[in-house]
Amino acid sequence: MRVVISKRGAKPAVAVTGMGAVTALGGDAFSSWKRVLEGSDGTRPVDLFETEGCRCRSAAQAAIPLLPSRTSAELRRLPRTSRFAIPAAWEALAQADLLIANGQAKLPQIPLCLATTEGGMEFGERFLEEILAGRKGRLRWVGRYQPEQQAIDLQRCFGLCGRSVVIANSCSSGADALGYAAQLIWSGEAACVLAGGFEALAETVFVGFDSLRILTTERCAPFDRGRSGLLLGEGAGFLVLESLEHALSRRARPLCLLTGYGQATDRYHLTQPSPDGGALCQAMESALAQAKLPREAVGYLNAHGTGTSLNDEAEARAYSRFFGAGWQTPRMSSTKAMIGHALGAAGAIEAVFSVLALSTGQLPPQWNTPDPLPEVEQALVRPLESSRPLNHTMSVNVGFGGSNAALLFSRYD
């Protein structure tokens, strides 16, 4: 089934023309993807901050990619989040052929739709440390802590002068930033948008998740009966989205189309999903309705699958309700087993993987899940499962506060 596009008077089709990612498994989208397919594990002991006293002391900590155009003094001023965001955005803009030789953007007015949950938190922690000690906090910490500053870091790096918006919807932020970017194009508000999410491991967030006792001290095993918690991760994911007409007019090659975005709010509890997964079903339904596609059209689903008891149970129940008992299609996996949960960046990174699955036909296996929950057992992608042509893939995220988001990507031929 193909998506009908370019009808006169219809909403503009949204093309994905570039993507980039930094994860614990690689400094770019392709190397991260390759290692996800191989089943590499990004888990390592955290050495960014002290973890003494925590139950869990590991995370999917990423290496910071080189930024050759920056001096060391400039790099010191950037929070860790910007040092993930800039290379991922660079990769996306370069693939979309939107960079000129000096690294500046060809379209300086393009808006930014960004996502994070903590911004430059490590700078905020240093500031809090200073004032707790009774000293005046230094401007260099407080001045670069807030998420708006990472927007400016990106604008500075690429010479962008358009507007920016920062979305903070917890773990669905990245998907929501991409979805809102698509809405800007569907509504005619923008022709091209750079959208993505970024997150860096920070002590406060790590200790916070540890205090909730939802970090695993074992392997992260999404949708497994024996799952014991999530693995925190970090990194960034970016997509260049543009109207198909805009992309074709500048001879850019669309990688695929973003054809649906659904969003729904679960009011059940601040940190626990409603056991029936109703809001998640609503988000998926909304994304499919927008593309006028039936449920069975989705070939691969990148699930949120954190590996926590409550999330995975509710999510599995929602999928079973949505796709039918014993469902086998779409094939499904949670890539958080290898790259961890990158919070505000998760939705954007997983969207990149969903685009890669669509364009290569390769399915990321569900690693670390020997004893799956019965609701998803038949659908989980098995290691060595053969690649297949896919027409539509979906990426789903669920967050604290009840944010649920679903993105639908469709093949463009």
Binding site: E50, E52, G53, C54, R55, P111, T117, G119, G124, F127, L128, E129, I131, L132, A133, K136, G137, L139, V142, G143, Q146, E148, Q149, A151, I152, Q155, R156, C161, G162, R163, S164, V165, V166, I167, A168, N169, S170, D176, Y180, Q183, S187, E189, T204, V207, G208, D210, S211, L212, R213, Q263, A264, T265, R267, L270, T271, G399, F400, G401, G402, S403
Partner: protein, 353 residues
């Protein structure tokens, strides 16, 4: 550049140091300035504008189970949203979207959580406080308490994020994602945020900056019936980081404003006041109100509501520049209800005064 679909504002909600409700905003009835000390040096205090939390109406929200661990930020947000939803049925609320805007967010909870685990050890970190540190915790509480069933989104930013929120609401309404949308902002002054302003040198005597707190909300629809006023969001915003970039961004903003329409001055008492005065000296003034301090997007919301109260048969349009304190400048174009077709290029029958 204001030929975009207007949004209709059918209700406004306010929590401010002047009191609860939009009527209180029009004029300060009593001195609202108070003193607050720094976390790092409690004996050193600075003037701030605070919401009067002794008002018995706060007891309602303090008793709300969902808000039992939430702080002032969530309570301010819920109260302003509650005000705009007066008369909106439960059924209608199921299709109302919510966009909440913050700048400092729940920094009070973050600082408390941080101080707790640093003081007592990581193994004793409080699982009760941590979830409240998340930016969208207050948004989630508000949607739950007010029974909103549409999409929700939390934005982080300065005054310009208020405009981004309104833009998002317009897009949701245009795309049919919601039948009505609430755009709300909330901010809370804490001794930690005061420390941050102090570090940023915003509290120097030479700068008139006064931290403030509260919330503001608008109920937006695409239907003109029963609208209080209409507004159009700016086509773009202008980012800056340095003083030089700010001057350039401000000049671009001034060039973009349609000529001949009175400008409501929003920066008169802030450090951007002189820049605003210089840029708009050739444009008619719509006036301004007594200073209520700076609370980022909340201030933008208050300015919107105050400026709208100046719309009349004789002043059918007002431009509202919004000077983002941190990274972006933007603006709104307010119009009298039922007068949305008029623009500076196509003026209404009565001349603008």
């Amino acid at each position: 550049m204001t030929d975009r679909s207007p949004l209709h504002v059918s209700a406004v909600g306010v929590v401010s140091p002047a009191g609860l409700g939009a009527e209180q905003l029009a004029q300060l009835h009593r001195p609202a300035e108070k003193e607050m000390g720094l976390s790092s040096s409690p004996s050193r205090s600075f003037p701030v504008f605070l919401v009067d939390r002794s008002d018995p109406r706060w007891n309602t929200w303090a008793a709300e189970p969902r808000l039992r661990r939430a702080g002032g930020l969530a309570q301010f947000l819920v109260e302003a949203i509650h005000q705009v939803l007066f008369g909106v049925s439960e059924q209608e609320r199921s299709r109302v979207g919510l966009i909440a805007v913050f700048n400092n967010g729940s920094i009070a909870h973050t600082a408390r959580f941080f101080a707790g685990y640093r003081g007592q050890g990581r193994r004793f970190a409080s699982p009760l406080f941590f979830p409240e540190t998340v930016y969208n915790a207050a948004t989630s509480h508000a949607a739950a308490v007010c029974g909103l069933g549409g999409p929700t989104c939390s934005l982080v930013g300065d005054e310009s994020a208020w405009v981004e929120g309104i833009r998002m609401a317009r897009i949701w309404l245009e795309l049919g994602r919601a039948t009505m949308a609430v755009v709300a902002a909330a901010e809370e002054v804490t001794s930690v945020s005061l420390d941050a302003f102090h570090s940023a040198r915003w509290l120097r005597k030479s700068r008139p900056f006064r931290p403030s707190e509260g919330s503001a909300a608008l109920l937006l629809t695409t239907r003109p019936q029963d609208a209080l006023f209409a507004l159009v969001d700016a086509p773009t915003s202008f980012p800056y980081r340095s003083q030089e970039e700010l001057a350039s961004a401000a000049a671009k903003l001034a060039c973009e404003l349609p000529p001949g329409i009175p400008v409501y001055h929003t920066a008169e008492a802030s450090w951007l006041g002189s820049l605003e005065k210089t840029l708009f000296r050739q444009m008619p003034s719509a006036g301004s109100f007594p200073y209520l301090g700076e609370a980022f997007a909340v201030s933008a919301g208050w300015h919107t509501i105050r400026a709208a109260s100046l719309l009349s048969e004789r002043r059918r349009e007002i431009l509202l520049p919004l000077w983002g304190s941190i990274h972006q400048l933007s603006w709104l174009h307010l119009r009298l209800a039922g007068d949305v077709g008029a623009t500076a290029a196509n003026p209404p029958s009565e001349p603008i005064q």
